[in-house]
């Protein structure tokens, strides 16, 4: 291996791949069979970039040559950047050697489109096949499905990969038309549909025949870019909800647009990356997937935008004050989950603990409840509780004022989920 050449390729092709934010490596239960190399289990972040994102997979493009000209993409045809391409063997060697040193959970391979969709997809599949069949590699493999690739290739991809994804890129069709004139939404939806059917059918077979091959056991995901086009949060979340419902997606990723190109259709180069908005979208997404919220409870005609100052759960609570206060010692788990400041684990602990004795503030604090938020919304074993008749807006102001001091010290807000 020529060290300099491979280093240069790696730099170019990792740099071009980094705007795809998905890095999850969980959801697959691939075992290490016959004393081979690796397994895929609960998804480990082996490192974190300086921007605080998880590094779990070797995330690279096979090549950044591309025949398309999507406005938001550094690899677009008319952008003047250095181009490079890995050989199949180079990607295999990097993956195996990084994996053996415990740097990564596996490979996330994407690519610019060279020649045509099938030609590109065929190469991606070849990498995965080689890893699985020649190297007995059982680590995680995420392949990007190239829009427009044939069903045959998608089927083969599913046999070797743990996860497949087609990026929708823009939340709506008109957004896509504007920025990616070469792409059409149907080309993206077709493979998603095909994968959905195939995944369901293979899962059925697997129930009947234990030895039936696994097909994309970690399912499919997609990514939408936020802030490059004018869609509002309601449109974004409703479209995410639609894809969760209709295509059995495991995850939708929201990627705040990083201005890398000058184009009059795009936000200017000095526009800040919408990181807070992106974080609010992820929080909203969690509420839909784990907290039993319906998308319309989070955003709707009257509330098309997420409040950037507060998280969407608090936002929902202060719009629905008639539901509170909730008695922590009596309410259903589902309702406790809706209280701001109480996460899934705390909610479950509360429900366990109250079987022994009624729970007090002191104990709630120990259990991990954020009392400074929750106290406006609950009563517990105590005579102390919020007696003032506060409006939702009052509460928001109180909570914001309290976190102000933290906020000022820490202008880079901590973008974390609940």
């Amino acid at each position: 291996m020529n060290v300099e050449r491979i280093t240069e390729k790696l730099n170019i092709l990792a740099d071009a791949a980094k705007y795809d934010v998905s890095c999850a490596s969980s959801g697959s239960k691939r075992k290490n069979e016959n004393k081979g190399l690796g397994n895929a289990s609960n998804g480990i972040c082996h490192s974190y970039t300086e921007d605080g994102r998880c590094v779990s997979l070797l995330k690279i493009l096979l090549t950044n040559h591309c025949i398309f000209d999507c406005a938001y993409c550094v690899s677009r045809k008319n952008n003047d950047v250095k181009r490079a391409a890995f050989t199949v063997q180079e990607v295999v060697d990097l993956t195996i050697n990084f994996y053996r040193r415990n740097y990564i959970e596996g490979l996330f391979l994407s690519s610019g489109i060279f020649k045509d969709a099938d030609y590109t997809m065929e190469r991606l599949v070849r990498v995965a096949k080689k890893l699985r069949t020649e190297h007995n590699f059982n680590g995680y493999i995420h392949l990007k499905s190239i829009p427009g690739a044939s069903d045959e290739l998608m089927r083969e991809a599913g046999l070797y990969a743990d996860r497949l994804s087609v990026n929708l890129e823009m939340p709506t069709e008109s957004g896509l038309k504007l920025l990616a004139p070469d792409k059409n939404r149907q080309d993206m939806i077709n493979p998603m549909n095909f994968l959905k059917k195939e995944i369901i059918q293979r899962a059925e077979e697997k129930k009947l025949f234990k030895n039936a091959p696994a097909f994309a056991p970690a399912g499919q995901s997609t990514q939408v870019i936020i802030g490059a086009t004018p869609e509002n949060d309601q449109q974004i979340l409703q479209s995410a909800d639609y894809f969760y419902q209709n295509f059995n997606l495991k995850r939708v990723y929201y990627s705040g647009y990083v201005p890398v190109l000058t184009d009059k259709r795009l936000p200017a180069l000095n526009t800040a990356v919408p990181m807070v908005r992106e974080n609010r979208l992820y929080q909203a997404d969690w509420l839909m997937r784990f907290y039993g919220f319906h998308v319309n409870e989070i955003v709707n005609k009257d509330q098309p935008l997420l409040d950037l100052d507060i998280d969407p759960k608090l936002g929902w609570a202060i719009r629905n004050m008639q539901i509170f206060p909730v008695d922590i010692n009596k309410a259903d788990l589902q309702l406790i989950l809706r209280v701001p400041g109480i996460g899934i684990q705390s909610a479950q602990k509360i429900v366990s603990a109250r079987k022994f004795a009624r729970v007090s503030w002191e104990q709630l604090k120990k259990i991990g409840v954020a009392i400074n938020r929750a106290r406006y919304f609950i009563i517990c074993k105590s005579n102390e509780f919020e007696r003032r008749d506060l409006t939702g807006n009052n509460i928001k102001q109180f909570i914001l004022a309290e976190s102000k001091s933290k906020y000022i010290k820490n202008t880079q807000t901590q973008l974390n989920l609940f």
Partner: protein, 252 residues
């Protein structure tokens, strides 16, 4: 208040619980260490680890708690956090004194404390699963030095054995001076003899010919995958506290 001095083993701790009940002690404090006859306190008891007594306590616990919960107590003790044996003893006494299984009574301070300890141990275990960086040595063994906050090496065996079944590997805890070694069949605990001049982190002379190339490729990858306009040092440091850096290839 009685101070009970025990030998630091789990059996020793269970023996101490036995003594507490036999002598009907109430306020007690357990400390690990050696018995000194010259101790100033009058009420110091030396606990002599006794397998029979320990087993009786263990059997009693198994009747009152789930298998997983007894396991958690064992893990909490093995982690060797300072002064936490009293939380474990408190938990065990609460379990014996109550008339039903109390392991989910998070309103109780001992139950909550054990739950916190287990959470910390798990986090450290996960960190090690993430932050171990193997270097390939000339003899094809993949070697890694670590310094975990708590004693978690025994908890790592399963994960690494499942994952790296086809390569020899060794993970060495520098702080506690022992390691685990997998020879393609089994794992065993080992201790290494480092002379004055060589440290467990000095491996340069014995790494395989392509080791440095892959380390440099990994460092390159790590910096290429960063998005400068999203820089967030606070978050970065929260995920990888500085004390772990010296063993992370991408950070040294």
């Amino acid at each position: 208040m009685y101070t009970l001095v025990y030998d630091g083993t789990f059996e020793g701790l269970l023996t101490a619980v036995f003594e507490i009940y036999e002598r009907k002690l109430f306020h007690v404090k357990l400390i690990k260490g050696e018995w000194r006859a010259s101790a100033l306190f009058e009420e110091v008891l030396e606990i002599i680890t006794d397998e029979n007594r320990a087993n009786r306590v263990l059997r009693g616990l198994r009747k009152r708690l789930s298998v997983a919960c007894v396991q958690r107590l064992y893990i909490a003790h093995m982690a060797e956090m300072e002064n936490e044996e009293n939380a474990i003893v408190g938990f065990i006494r609460y379990a014996f004194d109550a008339d039903r299984n109390i392991e989910e009574d998070y309103g109780n301070k001992y139950v909550m404390r054990i739950s916190e300890i287990i959470k910390m141990v798990r986090r450290e275990k996960h960190r090690m699963e993430a932050f171990v960086r193997f270097q390939k040595l000339k003899d094809e063994t993949f070697y890694s030095a670590v310094e975990p906050d708590f004693n978690v090496l025994p908890l790592l065996i399963r994960h690494f054995k499942d994952r790296y079944a086809d390569q020899k590997w060794m993970i060495y805890d520098i702080k506690r001076r022992y390691g685990i070694y997998y020879d393609l069949h089994d794992t065993q605990y080992i201790s290494l003899d480092f002379s004055e001049t060589s440290k467990p982190t000095d491996t340069i002379t014995i790494v395989s010919h392509d080791e440095l190339m892959y380390q440099s490729l990994w460092k390159n990858y790590f910096s290429s995958t960063n998005i400068v306009s999203r820089k967030n040092t606070k978050l970065h440091l929260r995920h990888i506290p500085k004390r772990y850096w010296r063993h992370l290839t991408e950070k040294f």
